[in-house]
């Protein structure tokens, strides 16, 4: 997992349409992979859909450029610092305490701060990270590279990842500086005779200083004793500026003073280079882990994983119903009040007893009543139609929508009678008064048939 993969994935998750069925198929085909590997496999599959140059390439190129510049500057600074510290003019020895401060003390302090920054890396507002030059560098570079600034703005890098990028870059810079320092030491020692000595205002005896150096040399003193200064060397290397120059003792032991370089080289190698290399490795691991965490916490990545790994259940058609909703506002039409005397009463799915009751109820006079529809045979209905003439009332159940069976009967009746009154009735509980909505259904269905011959009662 690297930054480029993370950016590619973030962009793809934003731009790829969410097709659940396709994602689930992909998940089933890659079920044996870990969630992170599933995401990586998905990213690789869709990588070709990204525009080239990819945003990840642009950002990576920019960050790489910034890092390389910083590394080169740090290396040169390290060399220059080393040469400066070891500068020997032949009149005064080189105070090795300066060099120790740069090669051991400052690296140790900065490493402690780096460890604290690493421990607090998951905080968006990490002061130690923001103090780092590595944090500001790309912002400064972006000021004169609009393209790079745009690329950086295009992607939302997780703060945790951003912190680890800065931490890793800080370690790289420090490592480059330390290597420069080490190379400077080797270079100066190889090309000049440097007389090392130590001098301090502090009330520090040679024995104390020896113990301190002995402690510093613990990593290599057992297997490389030549790189540990002896007590006599420490005693012989001390000098005081008071008196205007180098003491006779120092001059007497001038050839011995050069022996310090091994100790300084090992101290630089261990404290400035090796320990920093260790921290750089930790920062690389930390960045990888941060990228993993950031990737797994992307909302769209979580969604993708859930789409891939949860069963894809559909209970409905993929295409929406193409039928039109035929609900139309009800507009009364063809409403006619009946007269009271008819030649015949028919009831669609209503038996003759009920028909007689309805005639009484609605004060209708008719010599004959016929049951049609319902359980009647088609032949029985045809016979009723044959006998139909004059004015006919056809009672229908308003709550039952008109079927084509009823429409067939009405159309056959129309050819036989002079006047047909279709009377939708309501439920007994509602006093046989039909619900207007139900009547509207009948009116709508019968509208093509309504004329001066066919009436419908509302």
């Amino acid at each position: 997992m690297d930054l480029k993969s993370y950016i590619d994935l973030e962009v793809l998750l934003r731009t790829q349409p969410r097709e659940r069925e396709v994602r689930r198929s992909f998940g089933l085909a890659h079920a044996s992979l870990s969630p992170e590997d599933q995401l990586q496999a998905w990213r690789e599959k869709h990588l070709h859909t990204l525009q080239t140059p990819r945003l990840s390439d642009r950002i990576d190129h920019f960050l790489y450029g910034v890092s390389i510049i910083l590394l080169i500057v740090a290396l040169i600074l390290g060399i220059l610092t080393g040469v400066g510290l070891l500068r020997y003019n032949g009149s005064e020895p080189v105070n090795l305490i300066y060099f120790l401060a740069i090669a051991v003390l400052i690296p140790l302090v900065s490493m402690v701060l780096s460890v604290i920054a690493m421990l607090r890396a998951n905080r968006a507002k990490n002061l130690l990270v923001h103090l780092s030059m590595a944090y500001w560098m790309e912002r400064i570079v972006a000021l004169w590279s609009k393209e790079s600034a745009d690329a950086l703005h295009e992607v939302r890098i997780n703060p945790l990842v951003a912190n680890w990028i800065v931490i890793k870059r800080s370690q790289s810079i420090a490592l480059a500086f330390s290597i420069g320092l080490f190379l400077a030491l080797l270079g100066v020692v190889a090309t000049q005779d440097v007389a090392f000595a130590w001098s301090t205002t502090l009330d520090l005896g040679a024995e104390d200083f020896y113990r301190f150096l002995h402690t510093l040399a613990w990593p290599w003193r057992t297997w490389f004793p030549e790189a540990v200064p002896s007590l006599s060397l420490v005693e012989q290397s001390r000098y005081f500026r008071l008196g205007g120059g180098v003491s006779d003792t120092l001059i007497a032991h001038a050839s011995l003073l050069g022996a310090w370089w091994k100790f300084l080289a090992m101290a630089t190698l261990f404290y400035a280079v090796l320990l920093r290399l260790l921290l750089w490795i930790v920062s690389v691991k930390g960045l990888t882990r941060a990228l993993h965490t950031a990737m797994m916490s992307l909302d769209r990545a979580k969604q993708l994983l859930s789409d891939m790994n949860e069963p894809y259940i559909t209970t409905h058609e993929q295409n929406e119903d193409e039928k039109k909703d035929r609900t139309e506002p009800y507009q009364p039409s063809g409403v006619h009040m009946p007269v009271t005397a008819y030649d015949m009463v028919q009831g669609w799915s209503l038996d003759e007893d009920r028909l007689r009751f309805l005639c009484d109820h609605f004060d209708i006079e008719a010599p004959v009543c016929f049951h049609v529809g319902g359980n009647n045979t088609l032949e029985a209905d045809e016979k009723v139609i044959e006998e139909s003439s004059g004015s006919v009332v056809l009672f229908v159940k308003a709550w039952e929508p008109p079927t084509m069976d009823a429409i067939d009967h009405i159309m056959a009746l129309i050819t036989k009678v002079e006047r047909l009154v279709i009377w939708p009735i309501g439920l007994e509980e509602e006093g046989y008064v039909a619900n207007p909505r139900s009547v509207a259904v009948w009116v709508r269905k019968l509208t093509p048939l309504i004329n001066e011959k066919v009436w419908i009662v509302e």
Binding site: E21, R24, S25, L28, N122, A124, T293, S297, D299, S306, E310, P311, Y312, I313, T314, T315, H316, E317, E320, D321, K323, K324, D325, R326, T327, E328, S349, G373, G374, N375, N376, T377, L378, K397, W399, E400, P401, P402, T403, M404, D405, D408, L427, E429, R437, V441, R444, K445
Partner: protein, 466 residues
Amino acid sequence: MSQREIHPKFAVVGHPNKGKSSIVSALAMDDTVAISDVPGTTTKSRSFPLKVDGKVLYELFDTPGFQRARQVLAWLKKHDVSADKRHEVVRAFIDVHRDDPRFNDEVELLEPIMQGAGIIYVVDASKPYGEEYEAEMEILRWTGQPSMALINHIDVHDYSDAWKRALSGYFHIIRTFNPMKHDRHTHRAILESMAQLKEEWTAQVKASIALFESYYEMLQQRSAQTIAQLMIDSLSFVARKPLKDQEDEAVQKRRLEEVYKESLRHFEHTAQRKIDAIWNHRHLEKSQEEITFDQIDLFSEESASLFGLTRKELMVTAVTTGAATGAGVDLLFAGHTMLLGGAVGALVGGVGAWLSFDRLSEIKILGKKVGVRTLEMGPMKNPNFPYIQLGRILYYTATIANLSHAMRKPIALKMDRAFKDQWLDDTTRKALEKFHKRSREGKVLSEEMRKSYEALILERLKVLVG
């Protein structure tokens, strides 16, 4: 034999306008099914397969209603065959009348049955039984396919007894089902009845039941994630606005506050649409105006009174949380603070809650020293707001989750304070406050905390959705 031929199929058939499409819509959890009180809305059979990863577990068919049942039955009866050959006559009817527009609906509804679908015959028990139904039931008997009757109640009257007596002559399984009051329990009950129709189908339909249970769990889980996201987005949101020298500071502050509020309303609206989509209620968007809590705005006093905590409840919550924080300090000093930490924590929490009860968040002016002034509002400081927001979205989710897919009328979101008691008890309030306090302090919730928050919301949602 192909997979299409072996999975159970069920054709929902009946008289026109008796709620067949509503039942299919409810059972398929699909609000795209055209439902109308105009008869004849369904003119073609439509298939609703329950698919898991592309595999069909069972298939529902929505069919047109019978139009000329007597003519069909008369045609069938003309062929004098023994009972074991009757299904062949039905098949012959389909073959003969496939292109006959007069029998389009009958062919459409009989075809899936003759291809092996079980019959679910739907009647409306709010209307009286009529003899015209007998021809339909007789035709279905001729098909020889396993069948059950579903008694639907579209209206207020109840003729169930008469219907049951009539249906028992044709169907062994008779169940009552109201698609408008459909929930996971009735869904399960109907599926269990469908499983009894044919022995070979039992295992698959039972598997579907188990699947539906996990499906519901999944929907709840996704809803909880959406709600948690809404809360995090709302509580951490910060609105900014540049303030120019010539601009009136008070006016700009008011404008920024409106922008801030509008953004939070937008978050809520977006979350509602996500909840609709999760529960397959996408078509609710059409009646969006009707689902705005009866015009109760997120920032209204009414909303605070219905969904939020009272000042007293808020004080108690803040005092308890403050005391717990202070007690940590006491513990650190092994009690040498004479429990002063707890007391101070409780006091600070209580006073803070009292003072910020009606305040959303202060508006700060940034960049005074560098000359480019910016107004900033957020994150949300009002300790009551999270409960209002959470209460509203939980209420919305519970309503949508319990809403039948057959429902086509605008839904009414009316509620009273009793709703709060259903989901918010003291323990939940204390647990929630831990997260809300962190948001007020502008701290980001870690992934673990976010998961705990989601789990807490899911637990409450389950109480509401059932």
